[in-house]
């Protein structure tokens, strides 16, 4: 079998190796994406029939020095998971871009910054101080901190990657061919993408390999005609009815502003969506999109004129931590990108 994939964007066909060469590269990540790939289970036996995995640090012993020796385009497809947080992440992103015919941004960190991207709500000094000075178990009377370059007493030089001021998504750094969001992308999503690769039926470059719809469209709960909520509750505060729309129960759920494709796993487990698949195809900014959805169902929407400023503020004030909730997975890719604080 010789899979030939269409490169529709350029109108040319990319010739793949006789046996596909796949790689899994990683940035700032929890490695859940690695595990989810291993969790495709027996499908992995199909994959190794048509493909060789040439690099995947979590399961294989190929070292970066070997990758650096490969010709450009040696790898057919690289799945990159993790955000770009430091100089090593950037190096790996650029290296695998160069060595790969197709680069897939895999998982929410790579696509949007993900939860590590929440670090963009604070600044480096604060994080640094917290981690190495203020955490109560830290014993650091000499104010030692990790350094990009350091020599020990014998003169041995040791280096660490240099950290950036903010978290970036993969496509901030290199051109990405496909996006496969999710935290992590589910086995079914991965299998669909693998089937497309195996059959040579990949969509146009730049596509997101997930549904075009909003999660609400595939939500198993009863769909209310109109929602009007007086009070917002936090998930631990009330009994959660497993059949009713969570928003209707006053629980913030990111379903209306989130791309479908996850089979509503969290909602089926009686917990609200937190938006890991990112904005829907129609929206640019996931946070803005959910904010507008929430304000339209709050009891203020029909009676703005009857409510005082104070009442409105009180209602909206019930939304705790809008920044960290609405941009839970997408801060670096949002219109906000980063919260700038005044430097002392």
């Amino acid at each position: 079998m010789v899979p030939v994939l269409s490169d529709l964007q350029k109108g040319e066909r990319v010739k793949m190796a006789d046996k596909l060469k796949l790689a899994i590269a990683r940035g700032a990540t929890c490695s859940g994406c690695d595990v989810e790939i291993v969790d495709i289970n027996e499908k992995i036996l199909d994959v190794i029939k048509i493909a060789d995995i040439v690099y995947a640090a979590v399961i294989m012993d190929t070292k970066l020095k070997e990758v650096e020796k490969w010709d450009d385009g040696y790898i057919d497809i690289t799945f990159h998971h993790g955000a770009i947080r430091d100089s090593e992440n950037e190096h790996i992103a650029k290296l695998f871009r160069k060595k790969s015919k197709i680069l897939i941004s895999f998982g929410s960190c790579s696509c949007y910054g993900g939860i590590p991207g929440l670090a963009n709500v604070t600044n480096k000094d604060e994080i640094f101080k917290e981690s190495y000075m203020d955490t109560p178990s830290t014993v650091n009377p000499d104010f030692v901190v990790p350094l990009p370059e350091w020599k020990d007493e014998t003169g041995h030089k040791l280096t660490l990657p240099r950290f950036y001021d903010e978290v970036f998504s993969l496509d901030d750094i290199v051109t990405v061919d496909y996006y496969l969001p999710g935290c992590p992308p589910l086995v079914t999503q991965i299998n669909q993408a693998l089937d497309a690769i195996i059959s040579g039926k990949l969509p146009p470059k730049g596509s997101v390999l997930a549904s075009e719809k909003a999660l609400c469209d595939e939500c198993p709960r009863e769909k209310p005609k109109k929602i009007n909520i007086e009070r917002i509750y936090r998930p631990h505060e009330i009994e959660l009815n497993p059949d009713k729309c969570l928003l209707e129960q006053g629980i913030i759920c990111l379903g209306p502003a989130t791309r479908a494709g996850c089979d509503a796993k969290c909602i089926r487990a009686n917990m609200p969506c937190r938006g890991c698949l990112g904005a829907t195809a129609a929206a640019i900014d996931q946070g803005g999109s959910i904010l507008s959805a929430i304000t339209s169902i709050l009891a203020i929407s029909d009676k703005e004129t009857q409510l005082s400023e104070e009442d409105i503020e009180k209602l909206v004030g019930q939304i705790k931590d809008p920044l960290g909730t609405f941009y839970r997975f997408s801060m670096p890719k949002s219109l906000l990108r980063k919260v700038e604080k005044e430097k002392k």
Binding site: V35, T62, S137, T138, H156, K157, P184, D321
Partner: protein
């Protein structure tokens, strides 16, 4: 001066979770002068979780680690129980433990078959790198066995999904319990799968320990020899009978002679554990505070301790289930008693724990209460400070949150499994390098054997690196006249 000397860099270190590297420095004779195990990444959870609603911590901290998200979910759920001063119903605790035992199996099987055990021992430490992996293992044991491995990993995956909503990054943990109970149909499914996992646990013990390791004298020598050996303190959670428990109990520490050194719990862990910072690693080095940080040395006078499967077995009085207990006794008989200081025996202990976790799943799923619909108590008290401790697959895990009266996070302290083992891994790598690399003789097989020193710990550097540094740091070193460093100050320059 010494910069001219030979340096060997292993980058990235492989078959683990997260980013790390090893630097080995040789002297003029081609022997190892020094070696470093460096954790080269961090993300900053302790800071960016501040300001978040505390009940979201169960879903934020899972992203510390996709390999042991359940460990963080459980520690965080227990921490939330403490923050809101609410006791979950008994069925909820049992379901949490059941899902967690399934996770333990899922994580341990991944290490046994894909990351550490089988690839290094079945294929051989010096097998070609291209074969030293899951696919090599499947090739060697045959597709039929490969399929059984895959089927059982699926079993563990499925149980986690039923209870946690998702296998990776579960979502159902809430202060006071869980977001949903399980149905009778799901109970039957779990019972069936748990039974299969026990059989598979026994099979794995026979395949890897009895047939692969004990029948090969070279491996037995490697495990009991002095390349992978350090006398340290050990830490782990024990139940009221002093048996290994992953979900709940007291933290017990034994000294290098196996004598109980201390016991503590959520309320006073800070009295016992401190974290030391080194300039060459982003990961801190926890130590026993009352003994103090004495540098990278083992023994009774050093505060360095180790966690993870072997440490848990070393501190406990045994396993709470029959087949695991039998395997436990056999291991210590062969290793010559407790505590075992043989780092590679961590693989063995992991296989015993895998069996215990499966047996415990069967016990829990047969419990009459397990399908009880009452799985939540809604918190009513004003939230405050709380700590949650559990045993992650890779060792003791501590979550500590401080909140305001609205339950918004003000401060977070996380001490994760791989963190506790950071000093141990560094020492193990250095010792293995010193024992294995002599007179300029270095090859990929030997270097893999250096990697085996950290791999036994099944480190998860993703977990470990929740911290984050600044930019353009500067360091001032104050030397004594003899060149000894007496003071080291570092700070950032803008």
């Amino acid at each position: 001066m010494s910069e001219k000397k030979k340096r060997i860099t292993i980058e990235p270190i492989t078959r683990l979770e997260g980013h790390g590297k090893i630097e080995i420095f040789l002297n003029d004779e081609g022997n190892v002068e020094d070696a470093y195990f460096q954790v080269v990444e961090l993300r900053g959870f302790e800071r960016f979780c501040q300001g978040r609603p505390v009940e979201e911590m169960t879903r934020l901290t899972t992203r510390l680690c996709g390999v042991c998200p359940w460990a963080h979910h459980i520690a965080s759920s227990k921490c939330l129980d403490a923050v809101f001063k609410v006791e979950p119903p008994s069925a909820a605790k049992k379901l949490r433990e059941l899902g967690y035992c399934a996770h333990m199996v899922h994580s341990h099987l991944a290490h046994i078959y894909a990351l550490g055990g089988a690839p290094d021992f079945l294929m051989g430490p010096d097998a070609p790198p291209a074969q030293r992996n899951l696919f090599g293992v499947i090739g060697k044991v045959g597709m039929d066995v490969g399929k059984v491995v895959i089927k059982n990993r699926y079993n563990a995956q499925r149980v986690q999904e039923i209870i946690g909503g998702k296998t990776i990054h579960p979502v159902t943990g809430l202060p006071g319990g869980l977001s949903h109970p399980i149905t009778e149909e799901e109970r039957k499914e779990i019972e069936q799968m748990s039974g299969e996992l026990v059989e598979f646990g026994k099979y794995t013990l026979k395949l890897v320990v009895d047939d692969l390791i004990l029948k090969n004298k070279d491996y037995v020598d490697l495990i009991t020899g002095d390349i992978y050996y350090h006398k340290t303190y050990y830490m782990g959670l024990v139940d009221k009978n002093d048996k290994v428990n992953f979900y709940d109990g007291e933290v017990k520490v034994v000294d290098p002679d196996g004598k109980e050194y201390c016991r503590f719990n959520e309320d006073n862990y800070l009295d016992y554990i401190g974290e030391h910072v080194e300039p060459w690693s982003y990961l801190k080095f926890p130590f026993l505070k009352k003994i103090g940080w004495k540098g990278f040395v083992d023994g009774k006078d050093s505060g360095i301790y180790r966690v993870a499967p072997l440490a848990r077995l070393n501190v406990a009085d045994g396993m709470a289930t029959p087949a695991a207990q039998e395997a436990y006794e056999k291991m210590y008989e062969i290793l010559g008693g407790k505590p075992a200081h043989n780092t590679l025996a961590m693989h063995w202990a992991r296989i015993i724990e895998n069996l215990y976790a499966s047996e415990r799943m069967v016990e829990l799923i047969k419990d009459k209460e397990i399908t009880n619909k009452k799985v939540r108590n809604i918190p009513t008290k004003t939230p405050g400070e709380g700590v949650g401790i559990c045993e992650a697959p890779r060792g003791t895990l501590m979550h500590h949150y401080w909140v305001d009266k609205e339950g918004m996070v003000e401060r977070v302290n996380l001490i994760v499994a791989t963190g506790h083992n950071n000093a141990g891994m560094h020492m193990s790598v250095k010792r293995a390098a010193q024992k294995l690399i002599k007179n300029w003789k270095v090859n990929q097989g030997l270097l893999n054997m250096v990697e085996m020193a950290f791999r036994a710990y099944d480190p998860c550097l993703a977990c470990a690196t929740h911290t984050l540094p600044g930019h353009m740091p500067m360091e001032i070193i104050i030397h004594a006249p003899d060149g000894r460093v007496v003071k080291r100050l570092s700070r950032e320059i803008k």
